[in-house]
């Protein structure tokens, strides 16, 4: 009997993937050639129990590369609020993770595009609770992984994977909740360098469009200050065949 229990236990261990394997499976999801989407962010501040919201909206176009120098190119156009409408951000990201991405910012009021420092990935994206790094994602090799166990979230079983940055990063560690069956992220807990819980991101809505899983709604709650951001994605178009030339200063300056 003891032998049988031991065999079952060892079998369970053998069936359990490692944290790295969970993340590799997540990373192996089919990637589109390009994607265009509209993202609306609602920034909510809680003041004396009352909520005050502001709206940010962007159109984001991204092209992914399988070979060559680039991993992806992104053009973001700010649509709301009105005082930043037309502002553009062009980002070229490189396959070589040691190489900083190149960023250009276009300010329509000044009709001027300028090179901006790109290494501040921990900065807030448009005043939201998402940082640039949260929006861009991370390379698999930038973290080491440890499977903490399993848990239920949004009624589905998830692997809980701890990710610790190999080099000193923005966060001390992150705990990712990855859905077991469909291999999609449903929750991330972000801890600061002092291992205090900083932010919690949840993904209540996902959908599958052809081969691709799409996050339709994300919520990021800042635990250390009364602020949260809800991000909704709409008007998604995959594989429309965006030309390389779209991700240049020419289109960055074409405001509307």
């Amino acid at each position: 009997m003891k032998i049988l229990v031991l065999v079952l236990f060892v079998g369970e261990l053998l069936a359990q993937p490692t944290g790295r394997e969970v993340m590799e499976k997540l990373d192996d999801q089919p990637e589109p050639k390009d994607v265009v989407s509209t993202t609306t962010m609602t920034l909510t501040k809680i003041v004396r129990g009352k909520e005050r919201s502001r709206i940010r909206a962007i159109t984001r176009s991204q092209k992914f590369y399988n070979g060559g120098d680039f991993s992806s190119k992104i053009l973001i156009r700010f649509e709301k609020p009105a005082d930043v409408k037309g502002t553009g951000l062009l980002m070229w990201e490189y396959r070589d993770s040691q190489r900083d991405s190149d960023h250009w910012l276009y300010l329509p009021a000044l009709q001027k595009s300028k090179r901006i420092v790109s290494n501040q990935k921990n900065q807030s994206f448009m005043g939201s609770d998402f940082s640039y790094e949260d929006m861009e994602g991370r390379d698999l090799d930038e973290d080491s992984y440890n499977l903490l166990g399993e848990g239920e979230f949004f009624g589905v079983m998830c692997y809980k994977v701890e990710a610790v940055s190999v080099e000193k990063g923005t966060y001390g560690r992150r705990i990712l909740w990855v859905e077991k069956g469909r291999s999609v992220i449903r929750k991330i807990e972000f801890y600061d360098q002092k291992d205090r819980l900083l932010k919690v991101m949840t993904v209540p809505e996902i959908s599958k469009d052809g081969d691709y899983w799409t996050i339709l709604r994300m919520e990021m709650e800042n635990i250390q200050k009364p602020h949260r951001t809800t991000l909704e994605v709409s008007d998604i178009v995959y594989d429309s065949g965006i030309e390389d030339s779209f991700f240049t200063e020419r289109y960055l300056k074409r405001v509307r």
């Binding site: 501040k45 502001r54 609020p81 009105a82 005082d83 037309g86 900083d100 090179r115 420092v117 020419r250």
Partner: protein, 425 residues
């Protein structure tokens, strides 16, 4: 081509998308030095209308400004820009009243000189209103990482400066209007300077301004080579005539009449910016031929010399999501004569901190431009509340110092505190 043009003129009749944006701004400033008077009460309404199609677009920008200062009101309604864009596979064409922006520098102009500047309100002008659009044809051609831009501006338009008596009337350029001994007149009599009507070049193809810009992305750097052959936007002064006033047969004073005129000059320039470590290194320089400078000993009161100005700067990330920028500027008259009214070398430095805090509900701008050569400068501090979408409320100050014959020092009594409210739509 003709049909495209017509479609651009009558956009609502055809496929495409019409868009509108703009803002209302109220700007009040109180002098923070003696007099403590209301320096500015401004209401501005801006409306930009655009029509877009895959192959072309049309843009019209209207501006209405009502200023009240020194007890007088000034209403100005203008069409800031109005142009049509035509998009081709390898190029674009923009025709109409437009702005062309060349520079890399923040807050100063080195080789970004295609459009003349509206200096009538000098510091009390938002930076996006300082360039004056001109009717031009601009063609851009794209080939891989290379972009070639050509400009043709058939009608010269000079820079605009405040009228006499205005808070921001520029006093430099002419000799002192009360009394300036001019050595070439060989007299120590009081010499009163008078300004004649300025002479503008005629609008003709012969007088057209042309510009070229070749840009590329090379080894991680944005690089542009620039060339502009056109008129200088600021006039030089030619001595027209000297009239003595006689007391009996003895001259007791002179009245000197000077005529402002505009002259051609070429500019060859280079711009670059490149990230290095955690910063962006940027530079902007221009070599100008045949610049005219006031010269007290010259026959016609001006001398001609080549001129250089350049900027080297660095942008870096500061604490709490802020951006910090430092710039150094060097200007030099290359064939300098001691009798010239301007200094041979001018050095300037700028420092700027720009940030948005508390989830971008608070904005901060601190800008200092320091004229090293004249120990003069200006400091602007601007705190901006943006807690409600599309509405911003700013309070701030301009502090100006230096002696009166320097660019900033001549306005050293114009220190002010301001309140701005802006609603964008």
């Amino acid at each position: 081509m003709r049909s495209l043009f017509l479609l651009g003129l009558f956009p609502v009749l055809c496929w495409g998308q019409l868009s509108t944006s703009g803002y209302y701004q109220n700007w009040n400033a109180i002098r923070s030095a003696a007099d403590y008077d209301l320096m500015l009460f401004r209401n501005r309404f801006r409306s930009d209308v655009g029509y877009d199609h895959d192959r072309y677009s049309a843009t019209v920008s209207l501006d209405v400004r009502l200023d009240r200062q020194r007890g007088e009101s000034e209403l100005e309604a203008s069409m800031r820009e109005a142009y049509i864009d035509l998009f081709f596979e390898k190029g674009d064409l923009r025709i109409g009243k437009q702005q062309v922006v060349w520079g890399k520098a923040d807050g100063i102009f080195i080789n970004d000189i295609v459009n003349p500047l509206d200096m009538r309100q000098f510091l009390m002008q938002d930076f996006d209103n300082i360039r004056m659009a001109q009717p031009m044809v601009k063609g851009s051609f794209y080939l891989g990482e290379w972009t070639l831009v050509g400009l043709l501006n058939p009608e010269f338009q000079p820079g605009r400066f405040a009228e006499e008596g205005n808070n921001w009337e520029f006093k430099i350029g002419l000799p002192d209007s009360i009394m300036t001994p001019m050595p070439r007149l060989n007299t120590s009599l009081p010499n009163y300077i008078h300004k004649n009507e300025e002479v503008l070049p005629e609008a003709s193809l012969e007088n057209a301004e042309i510009g070229l810009r070749l840009s590329t992305f090379l080894m991680g750097a944005d690089i542009s080579l620039l060339f502009l052959d056109g008129y200088n936007d600021i006039p030089a002064y030619r001595l027209d005539r000297v009239v003595p006033t006689l007391h009996g047969f003895v001259p007791v004073q002179l009245d000197t009449y000077m005529t402002p005129f505009y002259y051609r000059s070429t500019m060859t320039g280079l711009n670059f910016s490149r990230p290095i470590f955690s910063t962006v290194l940027k530079g902007e320089m221009g070599y100008f031929t045949d610049r005219h400078f006031g010269d007290l000993e010259a026959e016609e009161f001006f001398s001609v010399s080549d001129y250089f100005q350049g900027m080297l700067g660095i942008d870096l990330s500061g604490p709490w999501d802020s951006a910090v920028s430092f710039q150094g500027v060097h200007r030099r008259i290359l064939d300098y004569r001691e009798s010239m009214m301007e200094d041979e070398i001018q050095m300037m430095a700028t420092a700027m901190v720009n940030g948005a805090f508390a989830n971008e509900t608070i904005g901060l701008l601190a800008l200092c431009i320091y004229d090293v050569s004249n120990k003069a400068g200006m400091f602007r501090f601007d705190l901006d509340y943006r807690g409600i979408d599309a509405l911003s409320i700013s309070i701030g100050t301009y502090q100006i110092w230096g002696n009166e014959d320097s660019l900033f020092g001549q306005f050293n009594t114009n220190d002010n505190l301001f309140l701005k409210v802006k609603y964008s739509y």
